[in-house]
């Protein structure tokens, strides 16, 4: 059933949000600490558990993937409700601090992605996954 996928996703998100709030209270912080991250880990764990028992049906997967696919339009809607005017008008401190921070962080990302062995790119991972499927002879 497709609704079971949607319900599973909702349960993971709700549980993550509650645990994140509790964590915030426990740490004395007025914020949700890692709620989305906890929910993501719950969802990944549930997926592994279901697939091991052979309960990961196609409609259930569709119920989750539908929302994942709507992600970009939702981000566009989020962008359209930011207070862009204030950010643009707040003068040079905001502009300089924003630009400097982003540049420093971009540079650090560049540095850290070059340290250690280079990770496989998404294209390589997908090519390998396709290769393994073809080799095993049963396409999913």
């Amino acid at each position: 059933m497709m609704i079971s996928g949607v319900a599973m996703l909702a349960l993971c998100t709700l549980l993550g949000s509650v645990v994140g709030d509790l964590l915030g209270v426990a740490l004395g912080v007025k914020a949700n600490v890692g709620g989305v991250g906890i929910a993501m880990i719950l969802l990944i764990a549930t997926r592994l558990w279901l697939s091991r028992r052979g309960l990961l049906t196609l409609p259930l997967k569709l119920g989750v993937e539908f929302w994942g696919a709507l992600y970009i339009p939702i981000v566009v809607a989020m962008a359209a409700q930011q207070n862009v005017l204030v950010a643009a008008r707040s003068g040079p401190l905001v502009l300089i601090a924003g630009i400097a921070t982003v540049l420093v962080c971009f540079a650090t990302v560049a540095l850290m992605s070059r340290i250690g062995q280079r990770g496989e790119t998404m294209d390589e991972i997908e090519a390998r996954a396709r290769g393994e499927l073809a080799a095993s002879g049963n396409p999913v």
Partner: protein, 254 residues
């Protein structure tokens, strides 16, 4: 006209789906036919969204972008925290567990640096612009982490509302820069694999900036970036009003 307005406002979420769908279609068409695929359609759509928010701010004088226009109020629900978190969590369904585990330690390191570096940059600039008290310096520095850490820190420390507004603006501007800048620098900073996406998420912080920027670069990287970025605001809210404030006070002396 009144009937049409009523119909659109009464079904505001459906209006939002239709309008955002139209913007996505238009952006993909611009990407394909005008820019020949050099800029991703999602990046164009996000910039159009920000531009619309800017124009709506000028027109309505409100603070919530296009949401202040009654018939577009559904955009607020569609792009609000509830559905945003719901959709981000859904993207985790595609996460390759082995890949995520490989980047665990480096992701945590990125998270630490992503809190400390923006805070240092923001605080130093606050000092350069003439702020001398530890509370204002800390609040502005916290705003450079994310636009949620800024006001949370400012409220906890009792900063003035002008300083809090400044810290929100810094955070929002950072998120906007990350959204727009990521697809441009993606190749140069090696952003094409899950490991660097997790490093990126930990360093850049803002969930909106990271997820928007990665969505515009390569949708498959979004869950990896979001996985680390989501801890960023919590970590910032934890250390900025406490350890970081005490450090600033020890240095600034007030």
């Amino acid at each position: 006209m009144e009937i049409l307005k009523h119909g659109l406002a009464a079904n505001s979420l459906l209006t939002a789906f239709a309008i955002v769908g139209l913007v996505m279609w238009l952006s993909n068409a611009i990407s394909k036919h005008v820019l020949f695929g050099r800029v991703h359609g999602s990046a164009i759509a996000i910039v159009l969204g920000l531009a619309a928010a800017f124009a709506a701010g000028l027109w309505t004088g409100g603070e919530k972008g296009v949401v202040d226009i009654p018939i577009l109020s559904g955009i607020g629900l569609m792009g609000g925290a509830m559905l945003r978190d719901f959709a981000i969590v859904a993207t985790a369904f595609e996460v390759d567990v082995a890949q995520a585990r490989k980047a665990g330690a480096v992701g945590a390191l990125a998270l630490g640096l992503g809190t400390l570096l923006p805070f240092i940059v923001g605080s130093l600039l606050a000092v350069a612009f003439g702020y001398t008290d530890a509370i204002s310096i800390t609040t502005i520095g916290a705003g450079a982490i994310t636009y949620i850490v800024g006001p949370v820190t400012g409220a906890a420390l009792g900063a003035s509302s002008a300083v809090i507004a400044l810290s929100i603006a810094t955070g929002v501007f950072k998120a906007v820069l990350v959204m727009v800048g990521t697809p441009i620098v993606a190749k140069a900073i090696g952003l094409d694999n899950p490991r660097s996406a997790m490093v990126f998420g930990g360093l850049m912080g803002t969930v909106s900036g990271v997820s928007g920027g990665l969505a515009a670069t390569d949708r498959r990287l979004v869950p990896y970036g979001a996985l680390t970025a989501t801890f960023h605001t919590g970590l910032g809210c934890l250390v900025a009003p406490s350890i970081l404030y005490l450090a600033v006070r020890a240095i600034a002396g007030v």
